[in-house]
Amino acid sequence: MISSYTLILGIALLIIGFYAMLTRKNLIKMVIGFSIADTGTHIIIVSLGYLRGKTAPIIDQAVSAVNAVQKVVDPIPSALVLTAIVIGLAVTAVMLSFIVEMYRKNKSLSIDDYQELKW
């Protein structure tokens, strides 16, 4: 039940992020859009890994080693999302440093001012 809510939330964030990338002229805003879309994607992934009424895949007092398989949520999407978050950070950092350099050359943050190459 709850994971379908979060799935919808994730998809909504993804689409809002894309919408920002499509409509905001400001380069930093576009990257913010990308980052929101990224967060949405991560929420989607975790939602897909959720199992009804189960708990974190860590063996401790709550989950004994014997029946762990019946007790825990899927660990794979968690692992994937960890990777994806770090990769998202890396891409964001590179994008932002491009923007910093572009700004230094052209003194503008509007994507419309960067179309000298075309056709």
């Binding site: 809510y5 975790v46 950070l89 910093v100 003194k107 943050l109």
Partner: protein, 82 residues
């Protein structure tokens, strides 16, 4: 109870996302995006992924926001169309 929390969080996050798109100030947008990540980490916790929650909280809402702010600082005087 938990669905209510999730729906509540979700509404705030969507509001923050839309705000981040439409805010005039870049600073406010960046902070809003950070808030989305922060709240996302709560959701991860609810969904049984504490590892992801920690990562999202520290990287998504922490570091990413800092990097955005650094970048913003470097282009402070940039003209903004929206």
């Amino acid at each position: 109870m938990i669905p209510v929390i999730i729906i509540g969080l979700g509404v705030i996050m969507l509001a923050a996302a839309i705000a981040a798109v439409y805010f005039k100030s870049l600073l406010a947008s960046i902070i809003s995006a950070g808030v989305i990540s922060l709240l996302a980490s709560v959701i991860y916790l609810i969904l049984g992924s504490p590892d992801v929650a920690m990562t999202e909280a520290s990287i998504g809402s922490g570091l990413t926001t800092v990097i955005f702010l650094f970048a913003l600082h470097r282009v402070r005087k940039g003209k903004s169309d929206d």
